[in-house]
Symmetry: C2
Subunit: 191 residues, 2 copies
Amino acid sequence: MLDAGLHLLADQNLASLGVREVTREAGLSPAAFYRHFPDLAALGVALVEESLASLHVMIRSVLAGAGGAEELIDRAVDVIERHVREHRPHVRFLARERHGGVRQVREAIDAELGRFAAEVGAALALQPVSRGWSEEDLRMLAELYVDHMVSTAAAFLEAQETDPDREPRIAATARLQLRLISLGRRHWQGG
Amino acid sequence: MLDAGLHLLADQNLASLGVREVTREAGLSPAAFYRHFPDLAALGVALVEESLASLHVMIRSVLAGAGGAEELIDRAVDVIERHVREHRPHVRFLARERHGGVRQVREAIDAELGRFAAEVGAALALQPVSRGWSEEDLRMLAELYVDHMVSTAAAFLEAQETDPDREPRIAATARLQLRLISLGRRHWQGG
DNA sequence: AAGTTCGGCAAACACTTGTTTACTGAATGG
DNA sequence: CCATTCAGTAAACAAGTGTTTGCCGAACTT
């Protein structure tokens, strides 16, 4: 049933999804839906959780494994690109519903992105470059990285669906931007 | 009729909007809708144009007027915050439909954001800090700024609607991030 | 003054929708 | 072996949907 919903959300958004539509796609009767969810919003929240499991795995695989800043940047962009390709429906769902019409879902996504930023912040604190950084500065940097990751993922998504030739250019741009941020980071002093 | 649509899109998204719904809100008969638009998608595109007029004004008011990097950053964040407050429905519409379910609208928004980036890039090229920058580097910097502006605007939007106390913190974070980017910019050498 | 466009209406068409109800078979547990 | 939960069904309900059609008055053009 989650799969059916996710499939329909390829070119629709949650608020315009119908109970009957979902059950039809899943090959079930309309009433069957209510055996599993009270609402369509509930189905949405379930999809958020499903989507973020894979995201957490991804972020760890970026932060783990050492290497200089350059290697880390390259690996990050590669991982994002591959993740979007391999989990397109989930990523699309997140991009679409992050500012979508269903409050519960919006809040679930935002809360989880916040946890992401915290995780990234903790990882940044361990790097030598961050010696002497205040909590606030670390947090703002982590948020900058997360926002950048989200934007990049969304750009990959759109490119993969409409014009795959644009993909390398997006990757190149993202790498340059990360390099610039990392440069600013090295010269940062006090908030 | 545009106003009626915009008002309904406060807690709905375009794909789940109905012709009858719009005309009812506007105090007209359903058939009247088709006198003005063939589709709901067309109404969406019209709203995009309406929304971006005010945005263009905003961006010029940031780029105009000289001043050091610090003043420019402060003014940019202020202008964004005020713009979101004064054009909330339009901004919400853009955030929601940027990755929404209606292809035509998505494309219209993306095209316009691209033009934004070009405009910002041209303005950046005039600043002394950008001497020796390649076209590609300027473009990626402009995109970074535009993406950051979009993220910040979305954050303001959510904060203003759910918990206005968070607003100053968002502004502070955005300023720090812009400062860090501007730092990276000063130390940039060659792509 | 005659004609034409413009923006509006009511009514009708055939569907689709969310949700509830009462019912059914299969698995599960004591 | 009996009871209970589980996951499913069909049928019905009232209400809402997109779109077309034919009609109408006002405003503009010539």
